[in-house]
Symmetry: C2
Subunit: 218 residues, 2 copies
Amino acid sequence: MNEKRHKETFEKISDEKRGRILQAATKEFAEKGFSAANINVIAKNAGISIGSMYNYFASKEDLFLTVFDQGYKLLEKALVEVSVLEGDIFDKFESLIRVAQKSSRQYRELTQIYLDITSEGLTYLQQRLSRNFESITAKYYRDMINKAKNDGLVDPSIDEFVFSFCLDNLIVLLQFSYASEYFKERMKIFAGEDSIENDEKMVKGIMHFIRGALAPRK
Amino acid sequence: MNEKRHKETFEKISDEKRGRILQAATKEFAEKGFSAANINVIAKNAGISIGSMYNYFASKEDLFLTVFDQGYKLLEKALVEVSVLEGDIFDKFESLIRVAQKSSRQYRELTQIYLDITSEGLTYLQQRLSRNFESITAKYYRDMINKAKNDGLVDPSIDEFVFSFCLDNLIVLLQFSYASEYFKERMKIFAGEDSIENDEKMVKGIMHFIRGALAPRK
């Protein structure tokens, strides 16, 4: 289980007020990154005093981790939705790509926060993150690959560990490309100016790539 | 051409002093990220006064961009070295993977800085970056794919734009995995505990993935 991020007082306020604080925090952390984000600005934008803020959170770090946990739950929910879908490994990957396209726009700020936290300067914060999500995703990929091997759908000599890493790399950088200005520009440079709007082109191209990578070899 | 990042005075000091300043700056930016990095700490670690520092650079931002340009040149050099190698598209990708493994360790701090600058909070800085490197890489990939199509080595229906994006995603996240604590943990979760040390396993697995993705289809 995660350690506690907030003080008990934060559970006793109204849902509306809690939502207001988390929304203001999400916006500030996404826009400026953890290091440059200002907890005074967050309190002001949430319409509470800085004194109240410190009644709910011991530090900017605790507030940040609370926001991160929130995003984490949404990601987990999205993965569960895909995992229960019908279909073979290729149908599921196509769904994963579509979920990545949709969720990185819908939860743009949370994706930006995820990208920010990967930076080396925040190593001390990473130690307080749950990484369960990645273990669950990795196992989900491996199980899918192994099942597809048994069904004769993919090359039997595939290393399901390295392949899971490759597959997730394609999904993660796609997510970043819709949510971060830097990676958006990069995707346009590589995949073409229309790649940001033309979702079907990206689904088709990436699935073509993945189908070949997994397919039984000649 | 890039705009000027440093003042002319910086060109007039000794190579040794210039190297000392850039080294101290690289370390501080890599460890803490741009936002949290402190130009006073950099001056102190380089053994110069903060007054001298501002004689060479107008701002922390200019110093950062000077460091970035330096790393950029090293990346360009590495790519040029691969591009002149003999061999087909698969030989070249294998070389690219090995270069990624080597250079992200050798230039660990520069790779950390590259990761840091992709974060959304630094969008205003990104506008001052040269993105030529990505255009050159993208074109290099596309040309390789098109040549391989003509030679009958790869599937003729490949979209060389989306495929270049996919291929570069595999290389970029591999680089991050050797240089950033966050992505190192992630690679271990997906590709196995030994993936960080077992370079040949990663080369073999990723090349297996790429060969399949590009190969003419059944």
